[in-house]
Symmetry: C2
Subunit: 609 residues, 2 copies
């Protein structure tokens, strides 16, 4: 075994463009330095189709011009943005043995050697995006996300009018074109957040709010039972390659501090954590021994490293715990169960709740966003929307207002396991209780009987809850309830949730969401197989499935596939039909005539059947 | 290559019980001969849990006491039911060379040698279940499905009152307990069908209607490019093993007649076909050469073999075709495109529409149910809910009334590709136009960009449309748009659609639907891993996923899995918490007290934060 895990790590990270596409950068006209990444899918030039530009979360890893060096970390693109913000370089907290679970010698993962100057915003007038927004200041982060949400367009789509008529947004207010001022106003209102720790300069900012594209989070992280730092950094790169907008590092066990260092220094997406997990490791996994001092120290440790959002389970209060006593599945949130145990053991109020204002003060200094945890989310259909869940949600509403008053950005976590007919009320109640702070849900799973397929049981709920107004969907992998997801599971989970998020965007009537669907459909109808593959969320799998039965290159332009074969291909017949009709130059005209004559043109005597 | 394909066929069919369960039969008290199959999942006896009985579509293949002989076919359980119905033995139509696409010698699949006496109901007073129902007669089929829908219960569940308050059925009328009389009344009203050809005595009857459990269809069938008879019979057995309620044989190419014979004689589920496919084969794949004579002959050929429902694309009328001219994906239904081509080529009304009354007369003679095809369903998000689709649906409404007047059972096929916000209106319009005839939809897919994952893009739409009132969901496999599904794809498609159907049953508030979810959840919370696996839709995959990281038998009772590891298992902590709380014997009481005192019991000074 090597002294540290650097060698396998450096070997295993996935780089290079996604099949059929290239990394491109684009900037608003007036801010040419603000290079926003996109992915451009080139289509068959003979078909007269423009390339399709899609949102890109993959970071520099898919840019062939960037040499990836995990030990050096990613380029620090935000460093220049901070020049005028008055952040002081801080004397960083010393790394303590317990930060890595007392791992030593060959068991200690080496720290990421990338340069990292720790900043502290305590003395600055404005630190958080919320503070800037309220002051009427548009930050670079806000301009960046505006351009990103517009997919690089410099003006609204011409068919915006058509778009507005098509979609049901349940009270969201999605504009045809995202201006930086709109971004600022949404953040100022608390309806959107840009999780962007001032100690994470490598970040490509992303906005989370119901008036923006629906986002997807992927959870990674080792557990005490399995996985390694090499696996986790590759999972980060892999998850973002396939479309994760944010990644949560839920590592437990030893080496948490150093693994997180490798992850953040190499992450272009916001990184979220649950600081309680590491705090619990520091007290040997005994919830009773947790204290505000240990927790506070962990917050500072992680904030200095650059974590962009913290899940804080401050909504689990002592008096909520009895409400879970008759549940079928009790408390299924790790953080929730830890805090419930602490509360009962000490028979006192949660220290997270009691010290919430101080937590806000710490998170404000670094602009770490809150993800207020739903520690009492239901773990089964039986427990959905029960008194415990909704009591906690009301508490999260209280806490949101406190965090906002302290200048902190906030989103709210949601369930869980919820049957379809109980999903909508979750969004309605969350918007009401929490003043429209962005909702961030785990699924929800719409049935409990699909173990091994819970990416699917939950994608159903995720698509619906995204449509209703959830801003970010936390993925669920096929391994949910069964084990720690591996690399393949991560990909399946991310692609599944990109489907759910995109289905939600379409249903909400998000401008431009249909562009990619229409491009796929035209490619499909015109038998441009390569274009169909490349426009799909997972070009490699689409191609592999096709090639299982028709592997030859000639089949990539064939006017059929193995599903129906050549004679029964409806697309071929229908395409021939359209061509024939155009030759006769009569179809459209006849259609018009038919309507003009009240539908009688083509009717024959047979209509009397 | 062998002279025929019998040998590999006999070898490859899957038999034996599904892991952790046994085949059981149950009968209504007053009809002990009516043995209705169920699957009983045994749970850990030490947990004090009764076995869970679930609906079973797998036929005799999972019954260890039945010796499967594909050449002999399945037991003909309905033969005895026909004794008093006055059906005449018919002189069967001769099999013609074109029925098998002129396959000869070693290319000809041998016919299934199972005994098959062809019946013709033309002279009988009542043939179809609709005719019996209208006459006030409760058939064996009706009693059978009532017992089946009740999962063998002899009385309503005790918690039925609770159930009624929980669920949104959008105007369906799902009773707490299904009586044979309720089944009869639903069939008489046209709101439900039992597809049950009098020439398919091997059938285990199943009811399709919005006031019953949501059903799932799996498509199988070879194409000219790939697959064989052995593969197709195994796909039938495999699809029903995992939960397909009906199976459509969509074979094209040669040997269609003989492959179908093997399938029907070995099918315990209703078999559907699209007779137009075989008719097209008989005219060398040239739609222009189709004629009423060829089609009529094919209907009789397939009805005599025992096909239970026919997709008939009689709704595609000449004057609808121009409405598709400006579509992004034209006509994507094979049957729809064939008929559109025929109409345009001859510039005359569809022969299916013109001869619809005669089609009814033929189908009534054998009680073949109509599945009125949606030949103009949208093939892309862009084309959803357009004029062509809805014009055809209105025509299907007309045809439904004609078929009902002729005594035929009818269901209506639906889309296709539909974004979430346009799904509900499809159900509403279908119910209105077609007098509440059961709706049978393909997905719908909620986005076009998920090639390779279209079981998921469509499961989202399927769960929703099932909730809104669709009676049967046609599965979509991961190979959709890319190639012919193989055995693995069939299983993935079926399991995915069982999830969608069950999620819909839960949301509709179907009595007893929650029983299985609750049992899984209890098993999960109590770390009964084997029970959790066995209660899941796919026990083998659930177990395999778990065992990837924790393979030892001891881990099957461990109070954690590799996802969180022992220290972070919320279920363990929460379970410990409940145990502790019970010891203190105060939790429930405190919870009550808390509510009595207006929520102030546990509040401390910290509430002023």
């Amino acid at each position: 075994m090597p002294d540290n895990h650097l060698a396998p790590l450096a070997l295993s990270v996935t780089t290079g463009p996604i099949t059929g596409s290239q990394k491109r950068y684009s900037a608003p006209e007036t801010f040419p330095d603000l290079q926003v990444p996109f992915r451009e899918i080139a289509l068959d030039p003979s078909a007269g189709e423009d390339p399709v530009r899609v949102y890109d979360t993959s970071g520099p890893y898919t840019d062939v011009s960037v040499a990836i060096d995990l030990a050096a970390g990613l380029p620090k693109r935000r460093d220049g943005w901070f020049a005028k913000r008055g952040f002081a370089p801080a004397v960083p907290r010393d790394v303590k043995p317990e930060d890595n679970g007392f791992a030593e010698g060959r068991f200690l993962v080496a720290p990421c050697p990338a340069e990292h100057v720790v900043r502290d915003g305590e003395a600055a007038s404005f630190v958080t995006q919320l503070e800037f927004a309220r002051a009427g200041i548009i930050t670079e982060e806000m301009r960046y996300v505006a351009h990103r949400e517009n997919l690089g367009r410099s003006q609204p789509l011409h068919d915006a009018a058509l778009r507005r008529a098509d979609g049901e947004d349940f009270g969201a207010s999605i504009p045809d074109f995202i201006t930086p001022e709109f971004v600022r106003a949404e953040i100022a209102a608390g309806r959107a957040i840009i999780p962007a720790n001032i100690n994470h300069p490598e970040l490509e900012p992303v906005i989370i709010g119901r008036n923006f594209l629906v986002k997807v989070n992927a959870n990674i992280g080792n557990s005490a039972v399995t996985s390694s730092v090499a696996d986790e950094v590759e999972k980060l790169v892999w998850a973002t390659r396939w479309g994760a907008d944010t990644v949560m590092d839920l590592s437990t066990g030893r080496n948490i501090h150093n693994i997180r260092g490798w992850i953040i220094r190499n992450a272009a997406v916001p990184i979220g954590t649950v600081p309680l997990y590491q705090a619990l490791e520091k007290v040997d996994g005994e919830p009773e021994r947790l204290s505000w001092a240990v927790f506070r120290d962990t917050l500072i440790e992680q904030a200095e490293q650059g974590v962009d959002y913290f899940t804080i389970h401050a909504g689990v209060r002592l008096h909520h715990v009895p409400l879970t006593a008759k549940r079928v599945t009790g408390i299924v949130s790790r953080g929730g169960s830890i805090m419930a145990r602490w509360c009962l053991a000490h028979h006192r109020e949660s220290f997270l709740y009691e010290h919430f204002a101080e937590i806000c003060d710490i998170m404000r200094r670094y602009d770490v966003s809150f993800s207020l945890g739903d520690g009492l989310r239901p773990g089964s259909i039986a427990d959905a929307n029960d008194a415990a869940q909704f009591a906690e949600l009301e508490t999260l509403g209280e806490l949101t207002k406190i965090a906002w008053a302290k200048g902190c950005q906030v989103m709210i976590e949601g369930p869980g396991h919820v049957p379809m007919h109980k999903i909508k009320v979750n969004v309605e109640k969350q918007l009401r209780e929490c003043g429209e702070a962005p909702f961030y849900t785990l699924g929800p799973l719409t049935t409990d009987i699909g173990a091994g397929y819970d990416h699917i049981t939950s994608a159903i709920g995720a698509a619906m809850i995204g449509w209703f107004g959830t801003a970010m969907l936390c993925y669920v992998t096929p391994k949910e309830h069964l084990g720690l997801p591996n690399r393949d599971d991560v990909k399946t989970g991310v692609i599944t949730y990109r489907i759910a998020a995109h289905a939600a965007d379409l249903a909400k009537g998000h401008p431009a969401a249909q562009i990619r669907d229409h491009a796929v459909s035209r490619a499909r109808f015109q038998f441009r197989w390569q274009d169909q593959f490349n426009l799909s969320l997972d070009p490699d799998t689409a191609r592999a499935f096709h090639d299982e039965t028709l592997p030859k290159e000639a089949h990539k332009t064939a006017h059929f596939c193995s599903m129906c074969g050549p004679k029964f291909c409806s697309m071929r017949i229908s395409q021939d039909l359209q061509a024939e009709a155009e030759r006769l130059a009569g179809l459209d005209q006849k259609s018009e005539e038919f309507r003009d004559r009240g539908g009688s043109l083509y009717l024959t005597e047979s209509q009397s059947v």
